[in-house]
């Protein structure tokens, strides 16, 4: 049971220094044990061990914080995205939820790969993607009793996505199509066919998930909240869904190209394609880590979809109320 008072005492006092001293003592305490197994250490190694212990402690803490959805910068990002207090709460909740699903999914993917084939990059990305789709499909909050309101706004997918990202997704799907045909024509069934079909399945699932994000209902809301909701849909489709889908798509393509490349690596076209796709997958993942919200462009911050895209003039907004 976590005790708030203990945490307060721990954080507000000079405890960080105490922890550092304790870790150093722990490092020195390891000396007799290491001596007993025939390892003698100098001062440098001793401090190295202490640093490793501190690093291990820090890693474990961060791991548990992320799995527990203790989001340290979600509120700050929300403040950057909108000035409205209620909208900030809405955005912060989405950030915490999306990151938690992705993190748990990614960690589960890594754990799965650890037990199975060891394809950590691929299964980590599959986990992130699964978490992202589940996050955006999750029903948030409980149904409210009494009168319900609904906003009857025509929304289209293209208003809530980034054109560039969608084109990359279509490119990935095109490559998946090509590899599927090639697998069928060449008679190379098995993993090459499964890999290319997985690419097509991925793009299909992501497009459906994006569409569901766009068309999911919302009640009639005050203007700031409506803008925040538009912004959330845009971020969900781009940062939460499209980016991980691109990373996973490239990773799946790399795996498929790798099957055709064989053990010779970069000596043939398929091997080079495998390498390029793998690098692209890692690059996109790196940009999208922590949802990529710390990399929002100035344009996006200045013209969120609530004003520049989804909130454009040709959008018809009709609010109505009815009893549930």
């Amino acid at each position: 049971m976590l005790d708030g008072k203990k945490i307060r005492r721990f954080v507000s006092g000079q405890r960080p220094f105490t922890v550092l001293i304790l870790l150093t003592l722990l490092g020195f305490a390891a000396v007799p044990f290491l001596d007993s197994i025939g390892v003698s250490l100098g001062v440098g190694a001793l401090f190295g061990i202490t640093a490793l212990l501190a690093l291990a402690l820090l890693t474990a803490t961060l791991l548990l914080m992320n799995i527990g959805a203790v989001d340290t910068d979600g509120a700050e990002i929300a403040r950057l995205l909108t000035r409205d207090r209620q909208a900030q709460v809405l955005i912060q909740r989405w950030i915490v939820r999306a990151r938690w699903y992705r993190y748990v999914g990614g960690a589960a993917g890594l754990a799965f790969a650890l037990g199975w084939t060891g394809h950590f990059v691929l299964f980590g990305m599959i986990g992130i993607m699964t978490g992202a789709v589940l996050s955006e499909s999750a029903r948030v909050g409980k149904p409210v009793d009494g009168p319900r309101t609904a906003e009857l706004t025509r929304r289209s997918l293209r208003r809530y996505v980034s054109g560039g990202q969608q084109y990359v997704l279509y490119l990935i799907a095109g490559l998946g199509c090509g590899l599927t045909v090639f697998s069928l024509v060449d008679g190379g069934r098995g993993w090459s066919l499964y890999g290319s079909l997985s690419v097509l399945l991925l793009v299909g699932v992501v497009l459906i998930a994006q569409w569901r994000v766009v068309v999911r209902s919302r009640p009639a809301l005050p203007e700031p909240l409506r803008h925040a909701d538009d912004l959330l849909r845009y971020l969900a489709n781009t940062r939460s869904l499209a980016d991980p889908a691109m990373a996973l798509g490239f990773a799946l393509l790399a795996e498929t190209f790798g099957i055709w490349a064989g053990p010779q690596g970069l000596t043939n076209v398929a091997g080079i394609a495998e390498f390029v796709c793998f690098v692209l997958a890692l690059g996109v993942w790196w940009q999208n880590r922590r949802l990529g919200l710390d990399r929002l462009s100035d344009v996006e911050l200045a013209n969120p979809p609530s004003q520049g895209v989804a909130g454009s003039k040709d959008q018809t907004t009709v609010s109505s109320t009815h009893d549930s």
Partner: protein, 254 residues
């Protein structure tokens, strides 16, 4: 700042902590719930992965249902970090740890022949495989030496040697693919500690040494004499790499 008040980091922490805790403490029930759910999900994923991994090893590269294109020892060490790399037509490469390969009633004979390893895992001792990590592309013979834990820590090289030799009567070496030359060296352990081993110095001292030129697809068996002293096996096409070999030997025999 009055005397006794914290300064620097301490003061900063005292300033920020109450605000952080005000937000954090009400969230603790939710944090605990998500922490529990997250850990359970990760645990289940690892269990499923391990379960599938067991089936994967049995059903995939060890199955007789498909042709294995190539199987090589891709890395080596003393025990747990030895992998066999399988190349299966249209199914890509799979790196599988030898301990897992041998977990289920031995290794498929065709795979074993391709990798140059025994069909059943030796309780201790050495078996050979071809390395894909060899710099110039010439497959080389590698040794897999049981870790000291597996062998039983024994500081007496002579008694240790007795166990080893009893398991090394035959050393099958298979040459396949584009291999044209394999040089196999069997080195006496008493050479441990030397900074380098040269071909000439070995030839003068070893009880059993075999330096063979093997043609592709030919299989050779090296019969080891019963009175072999403590020795370990390693290979290389280049004698200049024998320093590594020396370390491997010393690691085994202590």
């Amino acid at each position: 700042m009055s005397e006794g008040e914290p300064s620097g980091l301490g003061a900063r922490v005292q300033e920020v902590a109450p605000e952080v805790l005000e937000q954090l403490v009400p969230q603790l029930p939710g944090i605990k719930r998500r922490l529990g759910v997250g850990l359970v999900v990760i645990l289940l994923a690892s269990i499923v992965g391990v379960g599938l991994g067991k089936g994967y090893v049995v059903a995939d590269p060890l199955s007789a249902d498909f042709e294995v294109q190539e199987a090589v020892v891709s890395s080596f060490g003393n025990g747990d970090d030895v992998y066999v790399q399988f190349a299966i037509p249209n199914r890509g490469r799979r790196d599988i740890q030898l301990d897992r390969v041998y977990r289920d009633n031995g290794l498929n004979p065709r795979v074993a022949a391709l990798a140059g390893v025994p069909e059943t895992k030796p309780e201790l001792g050495i078996f050979w495989g071809r390395s894909s990590s060899y710099a110039d592309g010439v497959p080389s013979i590698l040794n897999y030496v049981g870790s000291r834990r597996d062998l039983g820590v024994n500081e007496d090289p002579q008694s240790f040697a007795g166990d080893l030799t009893s398991n090394l009567v035959e050393l099958p070496v298979t040459v396949a693919g584009d291999a044209s030359i394999i040089v196999a060296l069997i080195v006496p352990a008493r050479r441990c500690g030397e900074s380098a081993i040269t071909l000439d110095s070995i030839a003068a001292e070893v009880r059993f040494a075999s330096i063979q030129r093997l043609s592709p697809t030919r299989t050779e068996r090296f019969d080891v004499a019963d009175d072999v002293d403590v020795w370990a096996v390693k290979e290389t096409g280049e004698i200049a790499q024998a320093a590594d070999l020396n370390e491997a030997i010393c690691e085994v025999v202590g």
